[in-house]
């Protein structure tokens, strides 16, 4: 049984439809990349899974159980944590409080704790008292990841964690991913940086205009395939 599945998932913003029947599947412990151009619907897919946008019950399945109508909080308590696009730290909370808030609703056993997160991103330990928004973009991204880890999720959804960051910082953040996988969590990585994504993912989905246009093993996919799935035109 898959850890997470979407079946013919559709999503609307008002009258505007952003997803047209998306099917993806993630197995336990797996790392899946989702790529696609701006506006392809990647973030919408993440929001639909986590209940920010509600759907038909059976459109999202967690271990075979329908969770499409659950609230974000209920989805999260089932062990699906998200690092939202744009990091979305709580500005009135300090770094440490941002981390704590991530772990306060779901208390599951697992490798992640405040200390473990600080070990993963040592810079955060130094800045623990500063307000979350006073950090650099990369540090903020670390807090956002750490915050999601605090609940010891089975599945971690990461939406564009390299967006707007310097290459060195991106490298640091990507370096943390194997350690997170080693902790047992499956990862869904939404990325526009195709190279980075393919380097860490087992499988890749490419989206365009609200549809999945390519599913492939990361190791086997060719540049041409990606290019045509990504832009809708041949390279």
């Amino acid at each position: 049984m898959m850890l997470l599945e979407t079946r013919a998932l559709t999503a609307n913003y008002g009258q505007f439809r952003a997803l047209f029947g998306v099917d993806i599947a993630v197995a336990a412990g797996e790392c899946v990349a989702i790529i696609g151009a701006n506006g392809a619907g990647k973030s919408t897919l993440m929001r639909s899974i986590t209940g920010v946008i509600r759907n038909g019950a059976a459109m999202v399945l967690h271990r075979g159980e329908p969770i499409g109508v659950l609230s974000s909080a209920e989805v999260m308590k089932r062990g699906i944590a998200m690092v939202p696009e744009g990091r979305k730290l709580f500005p009135s909370l300090s770094v440490e409080e941002n981390l704590l808030v991530g772990g306060q609703a779901r208390k599951a056993p697992g490798p992640w704790s405040l200390e473990a997160v600080y070990d993963l991103f040592p810079i955060l330990r130094e800045r623990r008292k500063s307000p979350g928004t006073a950090l650099s973009g990369g540090q903020q991204q670390m807090v956002a990841i750490g915050r999601a880890l605090m609940s010891n999720p089975e599945l971690l959804l990461c939406d564009e964690i390299s967006l707007g960051l310097a290459p060195v910082v991106i490298r640091d953040i990507y370096a943390a991913l194997p350690r997170i996988r080693a902790g047992g969590a499956a990862i869904v990585l939404v990325e526009q940086d195709i190279g980075k994504a393919l380097a860490v993912a087992d499988r890749v989905y490419c989206m365009m205009e609200g549809r999945v246009t390519l599913v492939a093993k990361a190791a086997e996919v060719t540049r041409e395939e990606i290019h045509s799935a990504y832009f809708g035109v041949a390279a």
Binding site: Q15, L163, L165, I194, G232
Partner: protein
């Protein structure tokens, strides 16, 4: 010279998103802008249109200093723009969206604008949807509407932000020929686009932006040949 930026800088907090950008655009040119996500391309547009005000530097349009001028004034002077994330007036119809842009962007009476709006709608293939609420359009039509509305303001300088992203090959071709036609009429165009082949088939120069800095400007072939640009831009090993 239609547009001149001199050492234009903009920061959000500690993050510099435009870093002493200097560029001059001659009248009638088509200039392409590329750069990775978050490089500051859209921000540059916002600075040119007045949606954001620069922290430093000077912006001249048609020889006038517009660094501090509000957005609506710049529209009337002839700077039209599209938004990367389409921002139609959802409660208005497609036609009304254009009419608003025409009436206020050029400052004319509605009745005089009707034929012009209809022509633009035909050109952007929205004519059949003229009376449909903009809020119910598909992504493709929203992007068309962005272009159409920008055109309706009667721009001398047209700023296009990723209007080809996510189009099919056929749609993309049609779009390119539309933009070529607009360019051929003498409108100066600055176009941000990730779909390179579409971009390069129109523009005469390419500008590459990374971390708010101009890291290259020149003929498309030269720019695309640069290894640095290819790496930064696609992130793919070439």
């Amino acid at each position: 010279m239609i547009l001149r930026l001199q050492n234009v800088s903009k920061s959000f907090g500690a993050m510099k998103v435009a870093d002493r950008v200097t560029v001059t655009v001659p009248r009638g040119e088509a200039l392409g802008i590329i750069g990775p996500n978050g490089a500051g391309k859209s921000t540059l547009f916002n600075l040119i249109t007045g949606n954001l005000l620069a922290n430093e530097g000077r912006i001249e349009f048609l020889g006038r200093d517009v660094t501090r001028a509000p957005a609506m004034e710049r529209v009337r002077m002839g700077i039209g723009r599209s938004f990367q994330i389409p921002q139609p007036f959802e409660g208005l119809t497609v036609f009304e969206n254009l009419l608003t842009a025409a009436a206020f962007g050029r400052g004319g009476r509605e009745a005089e604008m009707v034929d012009d709006c209809a022509r633009i709608l035909a050109e952007t293939e929205l004519l059949s949807k003229a009376n449909v609420l903009a809020g119910s359009l598909s992504l493709l039509d929203r992007k068309r509407l962005e272009l159409a509305r920008a055109l309706a303001t009667g721009p001398e300088l047209l700023l296009l932000d990723e209007i080809a992203g996510g189009l099919t090959e056929g749609e993309c071709k049609a779009l390119v020929s539309t933009i070529k036609a607009i360019h051929a009429r003498g409108t100066t165009i600055i176009w941000i686009e990730h779909v390179l082949h579409a971009l390069t088939s129109v523009v005469e120069r390419l500008l590459v932006l990374d971390f708010g800095r101009v890291i290259g400007i020149g003929a498309p072939d030269e720019i695309m040949a640069s290894k640095e640009v290819r790496e930064i831009y696609l992130g793919l090993e070439v």
